[in-house]
């Protein structure tokens, strides 16, 4: 395997190799010609199938093992009930979320796993989603008023079918807390004292992970709601309030008190890695969604998990809870597919949601006729927390303009975690520019 002397003039001398490569070249052309019809076949296919009487497709961002098997079970249940064929396209969650705009514009499946909030209304308003009011005529009675409102677009039409929701809170291991004698803190001061104690005990007080940028938003949302109230939070997300004001600075001042207690390695860790420090008893608690249970395969640890609400700070006690709703939307093209709507109606029924929950017990079904008898103690507690809450927020990246959440907040929060500084004047300047472009 010598490296040849490789000036151009030196090459023609070797004719033996040339002939061999030429033959290869001819082979290549033949393959290319043969590939042409295949290419067409590969780039086509699905729509004809989708348009034939009883077929549809589902694009899913639920790529982790547990939710992946759960959505599969849900689809299988529909298939056996209706006899339809459903083509599944499972992509990594981050890929679906990051590329949603280009995905919806290019070649989306009929039904897509998505989220309630501005993040749904935004794409509905841009005409990239199809309304599902006719589906809601069938499933409407299944959902509470809050869920119904959360499924509406700005034009009053429905664009969303809820599947499940889950609360965000501080998760911890009961055995560790019992062993160390920790008590659930009701106020921010008690909470800080607890953190200090944990640190003294050699624990990382708060597990934290923000490599993907979104988890830190949970901390921001709670701090903002507890410091300034739910309405201010919602108005800030919609940019009806300015970012450049004392109220926002207060939020970050409160956060500064937490910074010394949050895992320093957060910026390089995914939420699962963060979860493992808590389940492995290296850290004391973890502010995360109830989906954390998906990542816990050990039944004993699962039974040992509990959570408490984000402690009260200044206003409204712990009235507001962050409980995002996950569900489904219909792509523009899927809007003309009866089977797709039929599947959505099934997904909005207790039977459909139960099929999902059988495999992924970490989330809470939203349909009224869903079977909740199999709820774990943790589930029941979560459901009670949500139904008892006065205000429910979705999550920053679901409540705010996508560009604001993605392009501005992620780097801003990551920068804040790094050095504890935040430029609210700049946040406001960017928000102005981005919201104005809409």
């Amino acid at each position: 395997m010598a490296l040849p002397p490789s000036t151009p003039s030196a090459i023609p001398s070797d004719s033996r190799l040339n002939r061999r490569t030429l033959l290869k070249g001819i082979g290549g052309v033949t393959t290319a010609l043969a590939a042409a019809p295949l290419l067409a076949a590969c780039s086509g296919g699905s729509p004809q199938a989708a348009k034939s009487a009883n077929a549809t497709s589902l694009g899913s961002g639920l790529s982790d093992p547990v939710p992946r098997s759960a959505i599969q079970a849900m689809v299988d249940a529909y298939k056996s009930k209706s006899g339809a064929t459903v083509k599944m396209n499972v992509m990594p969650r981050a890929q679906l979320v990051d590329n949603i705009s280009s995905y919806l514009q290019s070649n989306p499946e009929d039904v897509i796993t998505w989220f309630a909030g501005y993040k749904m209304r935004y794409y509905a308003a841009k005409g990239l989603l199809a309304p599902v009011d006719d589906v809601w005529e069938k499933i409407g009675g299944n959902f509470s008023e809050g869920l119904t409102t959360a499924s509406q677009g700005d034009d009053g039409k429905k664009y969303f079918v809820p599947n499940y929701n889950y609360p965000w809170g501080f998760f911890y291991r009961k055995s560790l807390w019992a062993e160390r004698g920790y008590k659930v803190p009701g106020t921010f001061d008690a909470f800080l004292a607890l953190c200090a104690q944990m640190k003294k005990d050699g624990l990382i007080p708060i597990a934290f992970a923000d490599k993907d940028g979104w988890p830190a938003m949970g901390t921001f949302d709670y701090l903002n709601m507890r410091t300034n109230g739910y309405q201010f939070h919602v108005d800030l997300c919609a940019h009806k309030e300015s970012w450049d004001q004392q109220k926002v600075k207060d939020v970050f001042d409160n956060w500064k008190a937490l910074l010394p207690y949050q895992d320093k390695a957060a910026l390089g860790a995914t939420w699962q890695e963060g979860a493992r420090t808590m389940t492995g008893k290296k850290s004391g608690m973890y502010l995360i969604g109830a989906f954390i249970a998906q990542d816990v395969s050990d039944k004993a640890i699962l039974a040992d998990l509990d959570f408490f609400p984000f402690p009260a700070i200044a206003v409204e006690g712990t009235d507001a809870i962050e409980a995002p709703i996950d569900g489904f939307v219909l792509s523009k093209r899927g809007g003309s597919n009866k089977t797709a709507k039929d599947m959505l109606a099934f997904f909005g029924s207790g039977a459909g949601q139960d099929a999902y929950a059988a495999k992924d017990a970490s989330n809470l079904q939203t349909a009224k006729d869903a079977n909740t008898s199999s709820f774990s103690e943790l589930n029941r507690k979560g459901a009670a927390a949500i139904s008892g809450a006065k205000h429910i927020s979705q999550f920053f990246d679901r409540d705010a303009l996508p560009a604001m959440a993605n392009n501005v907040m992620i780097p801003a929060l990551q920068g804040f975690l790094k050095d504890g500084t935040i430029d609210t004047r700049n946040l406001e300047a960017q928000a102005k520019s981005l919201y104005a472009a809409e």
Binding site: S6, T7, I11, A32, C42, S43, G44, Q95, S102, S106
Partner: protein
Amino acid sequence: MTATATIAPATGSPGGGRPRRHYGTHLFLVTMAVMWLVPLLWTLYTSLRPKAVTDKYGYWSLHGSINLDNFTAAWTQGGMATYFGNTLLITVPSVVLTLVLASMMAFAVSRFSWKFNLTLLVLFTAGNMLPPQVLAAPLFEMFKNTPLPYSISSSGTLLDTYYAVIAVEVAFQLGFCTFVLANYMKALPGGLTEAAQVDGASVWQQYSRIILPLSRPALAALGTLEVVWLYNDYFWPLLFIHSGDRLPITTGITNLQGQFLLDYNMIAAGATITVIPTLVVYLALQRHFVAGLTLGASKD
């Protein structure tokens, strides 16, 4: 090569004249070679160890069994066969089209002199050097707004099709290949085509019967190089292909990373599988690959 080696006294000779002069060089080269090999060997070693073994003994250990289970798991669970098939569907037409078009263009600008000869060659070469991100948004929008019948594209547009990826790959590689081939063809004696012309050979015959066969070495070198480059391309499929089952391997492998989160053994196995075709090309066609690389650089 032999000539270069024997003339420099300072560098010694294999006959044993002054071998001591090389101890320092060898020490340096061996150190560097080890540093170069270690990441590859570490990947291979990790991929051969079952997850259970590394969980038990840690990644930094020599304990435990070694087998190919991760490879079969990565291959089947990761759907790598599909990715490889997709790579083939993109790479083969792209390389063939690029070489056909570039050789025609190179023939026309190198064997005939006319007004915009140099201008075109300059533009082609410049196009090849642009950062691809500069063109991303307009190309995306152009493809989005190009309607296609659903019978050939399930998106109804050029997005999410191989046509889009192939077209852009061809356009982007054309510049480099034209540049290299034009230089190569210019160096071929002018009398060749002249004589054919006197015999009444048409332009097409001069191209296909005289110049193209003589350019085989350059085409072989470029072909090898382009196959490897397109196999390795990440960006254009990332931009245009949105269906997970249509991604080529280099873009698809990053999905594997999301899928096998924290399972470094599986990621290593997937990586190793992905490297194998390039290594095969490397072992079989290294000289063509290197020739292709240097053809572009060593123009005189």
